[in-house]
Symmetry: C3
Subunit: 361 residues, 3 copies
């Protein structure tokens, strides 16, 4: 594949509102200037594999906050987000090594592959039978990017997200899924077959893209053990009740509306603040409390000393009585909405905030 240009303010990826095939398994479009939709297309079952991961990493690395404020990750195959990771690829790896290997040795090999990739040898590794090591590392790098880029990431789940698909969705900041909230939907096998879950154990495997980690941190160890040890698949309704999803919508049309609306409103946020919040929650929140607190405070300093916050704060202070007044004349409905839905102030690079700061300094 030809190298992908990184975005600049004037040249964002896929400038049109219609789908553009960016690479063999990815299409992109822009429903709104600062919102990039990425659709994975690997029919018939939309399996995740090393190639898809490699293309996804390329795109995520090319994004710049000057051009893109929110990313929507979806699929191009009806009723399927991602069926699961390619079992053939895992089987090839399993057949390669005829004897059991301990977890520590695998970790050592992964560390070695990370180093060799750093020196540019990943392309080579991927042509050898050791490719699955490169792909496991790629998986880790893609989910790490989703959790650390200064863009909001939204998983738009148009159908089944099992195994590796579930894990990719869990690495996004928000998850919206098509499903029904009707009575008895939890036991509806058709709903379950378009649902979510980590069925790896049915094949004697375990999640390998962060499923055990994200489920434990989202739901606690009891629910994580339940899902991973039983391997049971759950409907969108049950996933919403558990807290795996942010919202359930009824069909593809509503899914697009909801995710694009969410992305548009979030894409106006301060990219530094988005990145700092994601880092504080994912990295800081997984450390000891004292370390996490310090991490948050450092991030707070970074966000508050950036150019965007200064302008927003001074604008807010001029209107503080409107926002905080509690007397009879208080009309919170007029003031809360812009504050919270992001229309209060444009904090995108090149927007009012940054220009004002430039003037000031």
């Amino acid at each position: 594949m030809a190298p992908l240009q990184t975005e600049k303010a004037g040249e964002p990826l896929s400038t049109g509102s219609r789908w553009l095939r960016l690479s063999p398994h990815l299409k992109t479009r822009r429903p709104s200037p600062r919102v990039l939709m990425i659709a994975i297309t690997n029919p018939p079952y939309n399996l995740l594999d090393g190639n898809v991961l490699s293309e996804l990493k390329r795109v995520l690395l090319a994004l710049r906050p000057t051009a893109t404020g929110a990313v929507i990750l979806t699929s191009d195959v009806p009723e399927i987000f991602l069926s699961h990771y390619s079992v053939q690829e895992i089987l090839d790896f399993s057949s390669l090594v005829p004897f059991p290997v301990s977890a520590g040795v695998v970790r050592g090999l992964l560390a070695w592959e990370s180093w060799s990739a750093y020196f540019g040898f990943r392309g080579l590794t991927r042509r050898t039978p050791l490719a699955p090591l490169a792909h496991l590392n790629l998986y880790h790098e893609v989910t790490h990017l989703l959790r650390s880029i200064p863009q909001i990431t939204i998983a738009s789940l148009n159908g089944r997200a099992f195994g590796g698909g579930c894990e990719l969705a869990l690495a996004c900041d928000f998850r919206v899924m098509i499903g029904s909230l009707a009575e008895g939907e939890e036991d509806n096998i058709a709903a379950i077959s378009r649902g979510i879950g980590q069925p790896e154990i049915a094949l004697g495997l375990i999640p390998g893209g962060g499923g055990t980690q994200m489920l434990t941190r989202l739901l606690g160890p009891a629910k994580a053990l339940d899902l991973c040890l039983s391997g049971r698949l759950i409907s969108a309704k049950e996933a919403l009740q558990l807290g795996l999803l942010n919202q359930v919508v009824k069909d593809q049309k509503e899914l697009n509306e909801v995710t694009i609306e969410m992305a548009k409103s979030m894409a106006r946020r301060n990219p530094t603040a988005i990145q700092c919040i994601k880092d504080s929650i994912h990295v800081g929140g997984s450390q000891s409390l004292a370390d996490g607190m310090r991490r948050e405070q450092g991030n707070f300093g970074e966000a508050c000393l950036g150019p965007e916050a200064g302008y927003a704060m001074s604008t807010y202070l001029k209107n503080i009585d409107k926002f905080l007044g509690t007397g009879e004349d208080a009309k919170p409905e007029e003031y809360y909405s812009p504050l919270v839905n992001g229309t209060f102030i444009d904090m995108t690079p090149g927007g009012a905030a940054r220009q004002n700061k430039r003037k000031k300094t």
Copy 2:
């Protein structure tokens, strides 16, 4: 301010049941001998700032378990617990440094300020433009104290607790808030304007007093990302459903009754056990599982070797059949209540338990 005396058994802070102005922004009263209420008063919007934090730290440091067993933190301004942290103070800091600074540099400066405060230079720092560094550290010290003192801490939320106010409430052991549980209350803008949330991102900022850390640990990363990235404010009802609040009450009168009753019942507990539980949960619970387990076991040893537990255990063993009997004559209602509501045995210093231990040894 004149230095505050530390409490002794005979001279607790604010001995009366009526409000006493302890310092420029704090009032205190004792609704019950071992319960101290602290009200923050900084009208009109009850903003949190460096001065309030400094006064809060003084009071928390002065508390002694011999005099105080539970602390209720509330506000003196109707319908407002704390609107948020003073934006003016953050803006002054932001204006001071005209170029972006990385999170690591801020963490380094905070560590330097902590050291200089240790050698007594905080008063000096607070008179320079670097005061916000001192205040960030002060914030961390106050929430750390709330999480580690041997007193039960209860946030009595008489109204809006946004941003810094939400973070201060989250550092307490229990949170009770005025609100309505009526249908549709989640979308009622008036309820939301008296609710709770972390709207920092609306001003291009992020929570800086532990919001991302406490939300992640309380609710998991998905809900924490939702609240911090959207900045949406939520009603007391939604906060209760999420698990941010322990109880919602209908008005100020009920708020006082509930929090004081809760505080009175908890104030009879063994202070060492309270401190050990808080440490095990906050510190141990944020470490790796093996480290956390060892931390709990060490704390268990400390609590069980203290003077209070010995007397309580021997009293319990004399009556064990009453508590554990399961036959037809069993009357659990008679025995469970005193065990659980704290009236079973007085474990306050100077109470029966400690006197008995003194006799024994």
Copy 3:
């Protein structure tokens, strides 16, 4: 006690389906070939103590995945799972040391006892007044075994599980409890007296077998503080709503049916995958996110390179269209069930998967 033989494929512990007294406080039976039920019997109140823990450890160490795939932990005393840990034993320890001791010193003593046990001196220590140190370490070792053995562990809670009983249940992978889901059951004192909770603080103590750690990780710090600081006992219904239980059943008969059915279905799983999932969730999930991710990936490699996964994956690939088809002919009900309930493929040692692998290599 005579040393217990470790299990081999042909000689599992307690081969019969009727109860066998294995040691003074334990009975075992096999309701199904790969399912071992262990009942604790220490009437009248089924208190946990050093002897019970020592016997439990012996049995858990003797298990081999070739013979046992799932363990059900229950009690032999009607309406009582485990009342709590023996208060007499803690009191003896407390009386031994007439002065307060800091948590750090206790941790040091526990580390010393661990070392001396490693060199075979635990039997000696348990005959001295320092026995409680050995028992605290034993407690830690038993709960660690429950969280790390390659067998599924199910707590079959036939009644009250307070204090140490609650902690032992929380160390299992699944918890099923007898109780009622009727209206108002949360406040029913009879239901509460057969419920669950950590009432240690009522005696001036704190949980010592991992209660603060497991509750914090399962429910977050707010709920953990609520339960441990108030010491309140809760009914099975409330415990289910909180997420402490996986299921509530109405009586002993249903309890046996449900737990045995659950165990039978899980006992066919790949033991390596079970162990890897438990390790990823408990150990990995308590580390920082980056460390946890690496731990999971290492475990994934170990599971996928074992003999069971290879055969399962190749069988699955032959039928992938049946499982993943979404057209009008798709009949997910026929294919999802065997995949998820464990009948899809027998991955027990000696089963089809392993024999096939032996042939191949």
